[in-house]
Amino acid sequence: MMNDRDILKYSLADFGHNDNDDVLAPPQDFLTWIKDPRVAMAFQFFEQPMLAAPTPRTSLRTNLDGVTRQMINLTSYNYLGLSTHPEVVAAAKAALDTYGVGAAGAALLSGTFDQHELFAEELARFKQKDACVLFSSGLGGNMGAIQAILQRGDVLVIDDKCHKSLIDGAKLAGAKLVSFAHNDANSLDETLARHKGKRVLVAIEGVYSMDGDLADLPAVVEVCESHGVPIYLDEAHSTLLFGENGRGIGEHFGLEDKIGVSFGTLSKSFGGVGGFVCANENLVRYMKCYASPFQFSCALPPAIVAAMRKSLEVATRDSSLRDAMWENVHYFRKNLESLNLDLGESASQVIPIIIGSSGEHLIMMAMAAQQRGLFLQPIDFPAVEAHARRFRISVSSQLTKQDIDEACNIIEDVIARPLGRV
């Protein structure tokens, strides 16, 4: 079925269906593909162990040659550097002494501590909603919320570029899943018109994670209001970063009161792990009863929750951290633009460098970057379109101008020059 000449044309998009009679074995052609040395080379970029904190200067044992290198880290989601902020770390340590390591139970029975209760109240107030439910992971939060809100016969309408957790939530709910063209209000309007009479929810993201562009929230709100359909807004990559008070894209556009459900993660700007969903009190109560990732998984460790409370406090008591991040975003962009690189429609701290359709070029460039001490992960099809393979920079407030200058020198040599941009 798969000849040697074509092997590099295949991708993870091609092996999701398993036709092997042995239920404990992957598809035979998947094994042939993934064991091919050319494919295996690309997979070396996955699961490379970091030996230090995910700060702009970190230590990585690369899978390419087994060598441990000091790297400039442009890949971690530590946008505000809160995972290593002294006050956040101190809060975690103090809570560890008080509560120990684990929550030792699901939230409904024995996993809720005073820290969880306080943090949920603080997050609800921050997001200007009645109530909040905490989840042990961001993926679990999206999946669980959608599973609880929708059911068979309902429809989840998502932007084409929405995250897998929303797709999986619809599958778990048994709801029909339909998508509209990315950020296209006309496509959304047509899609909603086709599902008149059903219970429908529209889910979008504040910042799209592979492109770094923003939701066209004003247009989405206008269309949804005209159809009487509520909005679920995933602010995984925008909470603490956008809006005058850091509340996210809803605040940025002055449309928070138009958002029915506001979702966020604790693993990105917050520097920890977990997810949270804010909504009206009755809906939150209902979600707690029917969202499996809330009901049936162990609650977040109390020490993490205490640390995340401190992250929220540090990031919102003034704008210094997000101001520092935005200054870095502008400086980085200016440097990348002077290299004539294709940065797509990015308007956030997520900056793609789109290199085109060649997966082989992408991997060769990624290897060269890593050997030069730049931890900048390649993003290949099917995570992004086949004609727009890319690198993705996550800009952190912790980067210095020197880090950015050094990173741009490497990007110039290993990406811009081979592409003929300079």
Binding site: M1, Y10, S11, D160, V178, S179, T191, R194, P382
Partner: protein, 81 residues
């Protein structure tokens, strides 16, 4: 296998995945999107059709396909390979 037979397979899977679609309305020179299919529907129609035809066309090859007829041409390359 002929191109017409492949179009018949794709059309049947399209009808199974899209509500309220009339077979006589389907023109191979049109895109599945013209019949209300969204990108997730299209993935499902392509997957079902490939399984039925016992072929595996790399997904990365399908990005430039514009309509049902072009999809059938691409499938035909692999059916006869």
């Amino acid at each position: 296998m002929s191109k017409d037979q492949i179009i018949e397979v794709i059309t049947r899977n399209l009808l199974e995945n899209i509500d309220d679609l009339d077979q006589s309305a389907i023109n191979p020179e049109s895109s599945m999107r013209d019949y209300g299919a969204n990108s997730l529907d299209i993935i499902e129609v392509v997957s079902c059709s490939m399984r039925e035809l016992k072929i595996k066309v790399p997904r990365s090859e399908l990005a430039e396909v514009q309509n049902i007829s072009q999809l059938a041409d691409k499938f035909l390359e692999y059916v006869n390979a």
